[in-house]
């Protein structure tokens, strides 16, 4: 088992971990800042699947993370994961708040685009 596979398993275990708060902090601290696109992608997917306010905030409003990642692969993968959520209410609420209040225009535009996709997909 190579290191990438081990890290993927760690990320997956953090997604299923009982201590959700600490797991999200760890994913945010290390996973979203990883130089590896694959790790960032998997981290964003895991945070979105948790579908909590704290986990979704990281991938929706943080510049350079989740849907705002510079890697198209990571951004598109995050958007697909958001569209696959059964309960999109928390994600839509955060996106609406981001469109209204976020200081960064790029972030607001990205949030607006994703919000439109989610509206059409639901």
């Amino acid at each position: 088992m190579d290191n990438n596979k081990k890290i993927k398993n760690i990320i997956q275990a953090l997604g299923e971990h009982k201590d959700s708060k600490d797991a999200i902090e760890l994913l945010t601290e290390i996973g979203t800042n990883s130089p590896d696109d694959e790790i960032r992608e998997l981290t964003a997917q895991t945070l979105i699947r948790k579908n909590t306010h704290d986990s979704l905030r990281v991938v929706l409003i943080s510049k350079g993370k989740g849907i705002n990642d510079l890697s198209a692969r990571v951004a598109m993968s995050s958007i697909n994961e958001l569209l696959a959520l059964k309960d999109k209410s928390e994600a839509i609420k955060i996106l609406d708040d981001t469109i209204k209040m976020h200081s960064e225009e790029d972030v607001r535009n990205t949030a607006r685009s994703v919000r439109a996709l989610m509206t059409f997909s639901s």
């Binding site: 290191n3 081990k6 890290i7 398993n9 760690i10 997956q12 275990a13 201590d19 902090e25 290390i30």
Partner: protein
Amino acid sequence: MEIGKISLHKTNSAQKVNSQNKASENKLTTNPFGVSFKGNVIQADVFESTKKASANNNGIAEKSKLFASAVVSGINNFNEAFKSRMNSVVSFGKKITKNVFDTIERVGNTEITFDMEGIKNKLFPDRQYSVKNLTNKSVGELKDLWVNLTPQQA
């Protein structure tokens, strides 16, 4: 005349004995110094004990006694050696028994535990990175594992 064990004979009377007896007596004469007592030459046999035959028997008896003594001494020595060896054997046995009991007591007081998880992880190093095992670890442990893997990844 007899003084103690010494018997004296007059030479004159000895000459009166028949010639054969005289010859045999002369053969037994072993008095080269011609010791005389009151004018009578002492014959050789007077120096010899009248219990010469019995002395020989005593000699045999003495030898038997010596032999018996040696045998008894030998037996005693054997007994002593056997006892000392048995003592050392017994003390060795006691020591072994004590050590065995000490070991049993020590084992009885020792808690033996097998770290099966550690053994499994040693045998199957990747096993600890299975999602199931990782989920049971604390977030801190997962962080350490992740940090340890990250430099190698770069």
